[in-house]
């Protein structure tokens, strides 16, 4: 069939190398989603809706790109990215916890704020229309070669899988992966996690147990800020070399979708983000498909990840029940 023939041009229909390339791409694409998704998880598990993931990532990407460009240090970039994201988290916290404002509105405002500020400050600062200068080598996260990558390279299957798929990513990819068990452990194995989950379900229970609801929620929101900060820094200093206006390109919303998909649980979040990453990677790789003489429009493949998401959601995932106290500011007296 022509489909096979077409694919065949680039090698066997789906050989190991192709598979590794797609999975490798999956991992890179999933990383920012995963970090943002875990950020949302902490916030929403504590009962604070967060649709400002996109904005926090964006401002972090900008701050990381700008600081790295100015100082030449990727670490200062990372710190700046986290700092900027934390600042927006604090705004969200003040509005939705301190002043019991509407959490959705606050999130929307943060997205606007980030989009506006990055452009505005970027333009004033670098005069590049919101872009930051190209980052040189030391101002970016470089790939990390894991031990044995060289030694194992010759071993069939395992060698390439280890050397190309698992090894050779930037530090932040491993940070994101490590964040999954870490989040799980924090949420389910620590006092902080217990309280955090409780406050998202029934803040009154936490309050009457003598714990400050506001402080707990603020803590959760700041963790979300931290994670979004890393996600943004990864975009600007890990995946590419610098910030480009609006470069998050809707990833914060996809992360939100992944969070619902994962039913607000860390391991499932990993699964959902990898799935989204995989769908995009596959769509990237097989964008041009011919069936016989019919050339499948490129838009079909571009829409495919989203269509498949809906199909999977409808077919296998079922009802997702959000944390019960989510979205509601905690008020004792009205």
């Amino acid at each position: 069939m022509a489909l096979g023939a077409h694919l065949g041009r680039a090698g066997a229909v789906m050989d190991l190398a192709t598979l590794i390339q797609i999975l490798d791409s999956t991992l890179r694409l999933a990383t920012p989603l995963l970090l943002a998704c875990l950020a949302g998880l902490f916030s929403e598990r504590a009962g604070v809706f967060d649709i400002g993931l996109e904005g926090k990532m964006l401002i972090a990407a900008f701050a990381a790109g700008a600081a790295a460009a100015v100082t030449g240090s990727v670490w200062l970039g990372l710190i700046a990215g986290i700092g900027a994201s934390l600042a927006l988290s604090a705004v969200h916290g003040v509005a939705s916890i301190g002043f019991r404002g509407n959490q959705l509105i606050s999130g929307v405002a943060i997205n606007f704020l980030a989009a506006g500020l990055t452009g505005l400050i970027g333009q004033r600062w670098f005069g590049l229309g919101g872009r930051t200068p190209q980052l040189p080598e030391g101002a970016r996260f470089g790939p990390i070669t894991l031990p044995f990558a060289e030694t194992l390279a010759g071993v069939p299957v395992l060698g390439p899988v280890w050397a190309e798929l698992i090894s050779g990513h930037t530090l932040l990819v491993y940070v994101a992966l490590a964040a999954v068990p870490a989040s799980w452990w924090v949420l389910y194995r620590t006092r902080f996690g217990l309280r955090l989950r409780a406050v998202g379900e029934n803040p009154a229970a936490v309050d009457t147990a003598g714990i400050s609801v506001a402080r707990l929620r603020f803590g959760a929101i700041l963790i979300a800020g931290l994670l979004c900060g890393i996600a943004g820094a990864y975009l600007a200093t890990g995946l590419v070399a610098g910030f480009v206006k609006d470069m998050t390109a809707g990833r914060g919303f996809i992360a939100l979708a992944a969070l619902v998909f994962a039913k607000w649980r860390p391991w499932q979040a990993l699964g959902a983000c990898l799935l989204f990453g995989l769908l995009e990677a596959v769509a990237n790789r097989y964008q041009n498909i011919e069936i016989g003489d019919f050339i499948v429009p490129v838009q079909v493949m571009q829409a495919a990840p989203y269509v498949l998401t809906v199909v999977i959601l409808a077919g296998f995932v079922g009802r997702a029940i959000p944390p019960r106290a989510g979205g509601e500011p905690y008020v004792k007296e009205r």
């Binding site: 389910y188 194995r189 620590t190 006092r191 902080f192 996690g193 217990l194 309280r195 989950r197 409780a198 379900e201 029934n202 009154a204 229970a205 936490v206 309050d207 009457t208 147990a209 003598g210 714990i211 400050s212 019960r324 004792k332 007296e333 009205r334």
Partner: protein
């Protein structure tokens, strides 16, 4: 937000016998325009059980919440064992040795019992040691106080009675010296309540102080040493229980004489209005909830269904009301009705002449954010008298009808525009009852009609149910209150484990007899 004051308390110094465990002086608290507590003084002696009674909305819960640091008083001071205590938040209250079981439980529904118990009382940053210690401690408490609960059960799967135990365990786990219980028996069976009182008496003997809020005067008479009566935010009297009577307390509470027993003529049963045959329900978790329930309900009679909570009564009500699918056969006034699929919904049931006062008024029977008049249309939004034309509802007529119902059912305040959540529980219940009773339905099914409702309102609701019966309606009454069943029902069925254990005529049985059947001993 000061926390520094508690260190100065003489927790170790043996208090003089005459120093009260708790003393409240001049406590006032307003919620916006509502003065919930006005200049309240209260003194509770150590090692005693002290009752607090009052109508719905009298301010009992507010007063106790202040003592527990959940609310802050506008004015007044709190003395614990004679020393002034600044109780800024619940943490301070817990440190001062106060534990509270709230009227509306403060549990995390999807947590296990153990997790709920240690929440806020963890040992260190890691959970595992806390959980282990709590497991051991819970075992000890369970032995000492007969408070068995499965520590690994998820709270939302427990019966309310067991959830209550978890709340008490929480307080005991924190080694509370002073235990406040806000309407603990509202959701308990008589047996469970007796059990609870045994525990409370034990605690008091150990020198702990107990404050008990309840609407049931029988309980006040049985377990308390002293009782305080509140009315409209004020403390009207504090009496020694042994020197008073239920009638006297009721009169102090309501400000008038109250009939504590229902006056009713013998029933005159007519044709079968509701017939159920072999009703079976398996819940989504695969548990059989109803195992072939059959009965017939006649016009002009009240059929009571007694049973310990969790034996299928709730499911039975939901099946009859059309909001839970089931197997079997059901007919209303001789006409078969669907038990599943299309035609099995609340709308179809109402069309067939069935009205339903649900057990859970706050989640099922009312929409708390809706105004009273909107709630009066709930389920009857199709009713012809509420339609202006094909397109619009007649909100004016609906409001007027609501005002009328509120006047006739003595809902206070009689303002149709207030949201449901602004009414006290008793008045919320009256709104539901008014809505369901006022249309003289062929069949009325009622679940726990007086749960948490003050005695004045209980009297009123009971009278209306009897009046409806006398007007020829068939009434199915589900209640965990044996008192209520015995005084209202003409005929009594007892449910156990999804089955009907037996039937008794109301005059030919008593609490002991029913209690045995309820325990599954036929």
């Amino acid at each position: 937000m000061s926390r520094e004051n508690h260190s100065g308390q003489p927790a170790t110094a043996a208090p003089l016998p005459q120093v009260p465990a708790i003393e409240l002086r001049g406590i006032s608290k307003a919620f916006g325009p509502v003065q919930a507590n006005r200049d309240i003084d209260l003194s509770v002696a150590r090692g005693t059980i002290h009752g607090i009674v009052g109508e719905n909305g009298a301010g009992k819960s507010t007063l106790m919440s202040i003592l527990y640091g959940f609310y802050r008083a506008d004015r007044g001071e709190i003395l614990i064992s004679g020393a002034r205590a600044e109780i800024a938040d619940s943490r301070a209250a817990i440190r001062a040795g106060i534990g509270m079981v709230f009227q509306h439980f403060k549990l995390v529904p999807n947590f296990t019992v153990l997790e709920n118990v240690i929440l806020g009382a963890e040992e260190g940053a890691r959970l595992a040691p806390s959980l282990a210690r709590a497991r051991a401690e819970l075992g000890r408490l369970a032995r000492d106080y007969e408070l068995e609960v499965d520590p690994d059960a998820v709270v939302e799967t427990l019966s309310v009675g067991h959830q209550q135990r978890v709340e008490i365990l929480k307080a005991l786990y924190r080694q509370a010296d002073i235990l406040i219980l806000d309407e603990p028996t509202g959701v308990l069976t008589p047996a469970e309540a007796d059990h609870l009182f045994r525990i409370l008496k034990g605690l008091a003997r150990q020198g702990k102080t107990v404050i008990l809020i309840t609407h049931k005067l029988r309980e006040i008479m049985e377990v308390t040493e002293r009782v305080s009566v509140m009315r409209r935010g004020e403390m009207v009297a504090t009496l020694t229980t042994a020197e008073t009577s239920p009638e006297k307390i009721a009169e102090l509470m309501v400000g008038r004489k109250v009939l504590l027993r229902v006056e009713k003529a013998p029933a005159r049963p007519g044709a079968v209005a509701l017939a159920a045959e072999g009703l079976q329900v398996v819940d989504p978790g695969g548990v059989e909830r109803l195992r072939g329930v059959s009965f017939a309900l006649r016009a002009g009679e009240i059929l009571g269904i007694a049973g310990v909570a969790g034996n299928g009564q709730s499911e039975l009500l939901e099946v009859l009301a059309g909001i839970r699918p089931a197997e079997g056969r059901l007919s209303i006034a001789g006409a078969p009705v669907a038990l599943g699929g299309p035609g099995a919904d609340g709308q179809a049931r109402r069309a067939a002449g069935l009205a339903h006062v649900p057990e859970d008024r706050q989640n099922l029977g009312l929409i708390m954010d809706f105004a009273a008049w909107e709630n009066v249309a709930l389920g009857y939004h199709h009713a012809a008298e509420y339609q202006a034309n094909a397109l619009f509802m007649a909100n004016g007529a609906l409001r007027a009808d609501t005002a009328d119902k509120m006047a006739r059912f003595d809902v206070r305040p009689p303002n149709p525009d207030l949201p449901a959540r602004a009414f006290s529980g008793g008045n919320q219940q009256k709104i539901v009852v008014a809505r369901e009773i006022d249309r003289a339905p062929k069949v009325l099914i009622v679940g726990q009609p007086t749960r948490g409702v003050d005695i004045g309102a209980i009297e009123f609701i009971h009278q209306r149910i009897v009046a409806l019966r006398d007007a020829g309606s068939a009434i199915l009454l589900v209640s965990v209150e044996l008192d209520e069943i015995l005084s209202l029902a003409d005929r009594i069925l007892v449910m156990f484990d999804g089955r009907i254990m037996g039937e008794r005529a109301a005059g030919a049985t008593d609490e002991r007899d029913l209690g045995l059947m309820m325990a599954g001993v036929a």
